[in-house]
């Protein structure tokens, strides 16, 4: 068990013009499951691999427990890693795969046997111990990869998109298993994924990365409710948050042909980006004029795509609710998100209450 402290870490690959990871600082508490999430190429793997010791650290410092590990070999960092393509040794049986790391550490035979048996029991791999990886399904292989990490009893688990090669259903199951295992063992974990749903469901805390920088760190729900930037707003949550061009005029927010009274003065004026989650929009007698384009059925709810004053907008509605080609929508005042248009940063606003019913301008 250990904490992981990342201080101002950067990475520039040899020959690359721009750094892949720049100036990241992050304190991971003992036993915490942190998920690094972001679009492909944002530097998640690079950061993880620097913690693992598979990439040199160009700048900054990584500490595992109290030990600075910048110059320490991966084998001696007391971490275990699970890879996207499992990276099992194809010529070894499941048992040998799990035991290999322990053997190299000269763990006594009976101890290895006990740990492998325990891990196999925990991961329900008992019947497969003497099979080669090729005789296993994708989900089983991934469990073996996790078993290989578990038997080592490391201070930290590192996962690099471990579920991306699995089909959607299995991914949900395995997600649950990883969560359960991690809670049970209480091992500090760093988990990389590009799947925001996986990130939301697994994380104690989420770290949203964009172009090698941290956009936001926080509990999944906090990030969902108060995204720090338009990037986070559009990346976390499905469907993505609606982002609309609007204009601030004192406490009045002008959106196309409508005006929303904000009640208080926000700390900005002029052009802003207004963010509204799809589920926060409700049909009402008066409000934003919405034209329906098409509907996506999700079963429990439906996604209604359309636009207001030429700007695309999505809302989720109960399937029982009637949908007209033209509707009027309003939104709770507390559910309005304002972002600076130029930087995409969130504009802090005091808590508001009541329904913001937009009026025609």
């Amino acid at each position: 068990m250990a904490s992981i402290t990342i201080t101002d870490v950067s990475k520039t690959y040899p020959g690359a013009k721009a750094p892949s990871v720049s100036g990241i600082s992050l304190a991971i508490r003992d036993g915490e499951l942190i998920v690094l999430v972001g679009p492909s190429g944002c530097g998640k793997s690079t950061l993880l691999r620097m913690v693992a010791g598979l990439e040199d650290i160009s700048g900054g410092e990584v500490k595992i427990g109290d030990r600075v590990v910048n110059r320490i070999d991966p084998a001696d960092r007391d971490i275990a890693m699970v890879f996207q393509n499992y990276a099992l040794y194809p010529h070894m049986t499941v048992r040998e795969n799990m035991a290999y790391g322990l053997k190299n550490r000269r763990t006594p035979g009976p101890e290895i046997e006990a740990r492998v048996t325990e891990a196999a029991r925990m991961l329900e791999l008992g019947p497969y111990l003497d099979r080669k990886p090729r005789a296993l399904s994708g989900g089983q292989r991934q469990r073996v990869a996790m078993g290989r990490a578990v038997v080592r009893q490391p201070s930290a688990f590192l996962f690099d998109e471990p579920l991306s090669n699995l089909d959607a259903k299995l991914r949900v199951t395995m997600r649950g298993e990883i969560r359960r295992l991690q809670k049970r063992l209480g091992t500090t974990s760093l988990y990389v994924t590009h799947d925001q749903l996986e990130a939301m469901t697994l994380a104690d805390r989420l770290v949203v990365l964009n172009e090698g920088r941290i956009e936001q760190v926080g509990a999944p729900l906090d990030i969902y409710l108060r995204p720090a930037s338009t990037f986070v707003a559009s990346f976390i949550g499905a469907p993505a948050m609606n982002l609309l061009d609007a204009e601030l005029d004192g406490a009045r927010l002008r959106l196309g042909t409508s005006v929303i009274e904000l009640g208080q003065l926000p700390g900005a004026k002029g052009a802003v980006t207004l963010g509204i989650r799809a589920e926060d929009l409700v049909p009402s007698a008066t409000g934003l004029p919405f034209r329906t384009d098409f509907i996506e059925e999700l079963g429990a709810q439906r996604l209604v795509h359309g636009h207001i004053d030429g700007q695309p907008l999505v809302l989720t509605l109960d399937p029982a609710m009637q949908i007209d080609s033209e509707m009027r929508l309003s939104v709770a005042a507390a559910k309005l998100h304002l972002f600076e248009t130029s930087t995409g940063k969130r504009i802090a606003t005091a808590a508001r209450s009541g329904l913001a019913v937009p009026q025609p301008a």
Partner: protein
């Protein structure tokens, strides 16, 4: 499944005959006496001289000094073939391992240099090679026979391509599992390369087995003679009215055929199993 197509079959049968009949002729003819062969030419039917001929060929003290038997020659050929194959595999594997996994500067450039220089056939460098061996005092020795031919561009190339196809994650997993370069090679890479090694073993064994010019240059003592030279030797005794021992030449040729066939059959099974099982 498919309809039987007579024409395809005829072509296949003709091809098989084309490949097999000469071998059959050699086997059959070797069981007749030299005189019969001289009078009647080649045979397609078995004769009654088989045991005698093969016994003579394997055990008779022949040659100039009367020191060399067929068995010795068989041994020598085997030593040459196996020495070649094993040596080439070890050497080219080591070279490829260095080229792929140790990122030194100009590794690719270096590889292409090795590749191009070694593409030159042995015959081009046979005199200098001979001279080097001669001044090292290695003429008439197995070392001299084998070592100069061990460097293999083809082998290095194959192993390099294979190592490059092994996923990086496997190396990384091994590093995290505490395997250093040496352990990674022994525990992971070599077991994974089995099929590759089987393939190269087949090729190189046959290559070594069939060497003729190089052993002839390197060895003058008859106890180093290989089968290939033995066959030649028998046919060279045309002195006066003496009939060459055709039967013995054929018997030797048949004997010379067997080990490569065995090697191919055995290793091919490995090789194919490896191919069908492999997922890296």
């Amino acid at each position: 499944m498919n309809r039987i197509k007579p024409f395809d079959h005829i072509i296949l049968i003709l091809g098989t005959l084309f490949m097999c009949v000469p071998v059959l002729v050699a086997v059959m003819t070797s069981t007749h006496s030299a005189v019969d062969i001289h009078m009647n030419g080649l045979y397609l039917t078995p004769g009654d001289n088989a045991v005698g001929t093969y016994q003579t060929v394997l055990t008779r003290q022949g040659g100039f000094t009367g020191q060399v038997t067929g068995l010795t020659m068989l041994m020598n050929s085997l030593i040459l073939g196996i020495g070649f194959a094993v040596g080439k595999i070890v050497l080219s594997m080591a070279a490829a391992y260095a080229l792929v996994y140790f990122r030194f500067r100009f590794a690719t450039f270096l590889f292409w240099i090795i590749f191009t220089t070694l593409l030159l056939p042995l015959e081009v460098r046979i005199m200098p090679s001979y001279q080097v061996m001669s001044s090292l005092g290695l003429l008439n020795s197995y070392t001299g026979l084998i070592v100069p031919l061990l460097a293999s561009a083809t082998g290095t190339f194959y192993f390099r391509q294979f190592f490059k196809s092994v996923p990086d994650e496997l190396l990384e997993a091994a590093r995290i599992d505490g395997a250093g370069p040496w352990k990674f090679l022994i525990d992971i890479l070599i077991p994974l390369s089995k099929t590759m090694m089987a393939a190269i073993f087949i090729i190189m064994f046959v290559y070594g087995w069939n060497q003729y010019l190089w052993p002839m240059l390197m060895t003058t003592e008859e106890r180093f003679f290989t089968l290939m030279r033995g066959i030649k030797q028998i046919l060279q005794v045309w002195i006066g009215s003496q009939i060459p021992d055709y039967n013995e030449a054929f018997a030797l040729a048949v004997l010379a055929l067997l080990p490569p066939v065995i090697v191919v059959v055995v290793f091919q099974r490995w090789f194919i199993r490896g191919l069908t099982e492999s997922d890296k």
